[in-house]
Amino acid sequence: MPGIIEADNLTKTYQGTVPALADASFSVDKGEFVTLIGRSGSGKSTLLNILGCLDRPDSGQLRIDGSIVNYGDPAQLVGIRRSKIGFIFQQFNLLPYLTAQENVEYPLLFNYRDPETRAKAAGELLRCVGLFDRRDHLPSELSGGEQQRVSVARALINNPPIVFADEPTGNLDQKTSEDIFRLMRSISQEKKTTFFIVTHERDFGAYADRSFQLRDGTVIDTW
């Protein structure tokens, strides 16, 4: 069975620097919980942006859920981001003027769902991340860990097969970070969602089914 993410020889070089990615090839199966570990500046974010259809590689091919990504087709990229992918950011990136619930609903707005459907889906996810009671709070009224939980719920709202997380615990303390990893892990198992998590902390590799390392622009499967 083909993987849900299949990368073939992805290469990306920024002007005048060493390649950020050099022939990176790997495959991730549906429902896998994968971490990508690497030092800062090793090209992890570059790889994540390419996998998330936000950036384009210089060469190589990417398949998401069976279809080849055509980086020259903005409509396809938007379509993939809407239905195949969820994003979790290090800075949470919640919209400050929207409540927790509205933040979770936000991606559905671009998927043209009606307000009732949006509210129902967001309510369920907030319950799932344990923040249903705080759904009417603004991000500024939530702790860092709570904001990241909202962000996890937002990433799942379109029911995507894949969630990409870029240093999701980079701004959180050890205890909260572990909570977030456990939350993501349990959601992954429950919903059969693939999680692809970039982190620089090796410890969290323990939660993963598989852990990649990025070294000299190449992805190495560490186990």
Binding site: V78, N93, Y106, L109, F110, P115
Partner: protein
Amino acid sequence: MVRLIDYARLSARQLLKKRTRIILTAIGIAIGIAAVVGIISLGEGIRHQAIETVKQQSDLSLIEVTGTVRDGTVIPITESKVALIQGIPHAKSAGPVYRASFSTLRQTYLGVTGIRGEDFSRIFRPAFSSGAFPDPGSNNVVLGYDVAEKLRKYEGIRPGDLFTVVIRDYDPNGAPLDRKLAIRTSGVLKERGDSLDNMVIMDFDSVKAMSGDDVAYNSVYVRIDDPEHVFSVAGDVQSLGLSATGAFQQIESVNRFMDLVILFLSLFAAISLVIGALMIVNTMVMSVYERTREIGVSMAVGASRGDVMTLILIECFYIGIIGGLLGDLLGIAFSFCLNTLGKSYLMAQMGDLFSGFARYDLAIVTPEILVMGFLVAVILSLLSGVYPAMKAAALDPVEAIHHT
């Protein structure tokens, strides 16, 4: 539709977050709209005043139809043309006339109109201060009030007097050939304050005999049932290939003149609109810059470039609505000030000359002007939003997300 309503709601949230800035920006556009609305209202007020004056001083429902020359061909007024003119809707009655020119022995020029007695009374509804219409075939004349006064003052000719006039013809060689004619004033008209005061009326057949033209009349007077229809009747006359003249032309020239005045004044007022538009561009460019990260995140979670543009343009749409409403309100207030403070100042300055203004408003705000002001505000705001919206849509999501 659901999507647009949702976007509108989201944009409204954005605007509420920074309402001071948005209201200041909207006031910028509102001042421009108020200036344009005020100027146009003032222009319309002056136009109204001028047209009312024309209406009072002239006989609007009377037009005179004359022949024309088109492409070198003379289009004369024949009997069949008169029948066509009589058939024009709202043309109540039409009377053909012949014209002649007399001069008294002391060189007072008299333009003579030969018209049938029944046409004269139907079309002009004359009121005689003395005498009556001349008998058919006679050489007697009816004098308008001003002509009668002139003849009495300068020539000593009174109603009933027989006096001599000179008719100038030309011989086959082109040399003038003067002929003398004794005529009598059979009646004098009361003062009317319009063109009839300066007319000399004679019997139709008498003038026709002098002109020696059996085919074409010099002109046709047409009485219209209501002054409202004068422009449509004049248009119908023109479509017969003839020309129509009358007091209505003064209204046409007043309108043409006021259109130009209003246009030029509005252009000056529009300069403030340009400034208002630039304020919107500035506000929105700043807003896009401040929200760079948010726009990047929106793109990452599925917003297309079109969605981003729509969101920014909806914000400009709101600014336009606020600016348009505020501008209309300010414009109404401006006109109100003109009609109260401005008018009393003007009348105090101009004295009796402008006493006519007392009955009229100096500035007239019509619903059309307000709708126009509102639409201009909205359209201008949307146009001002195009550049910031394009800038937002062109952001690179990767860079935008990491923007601090």
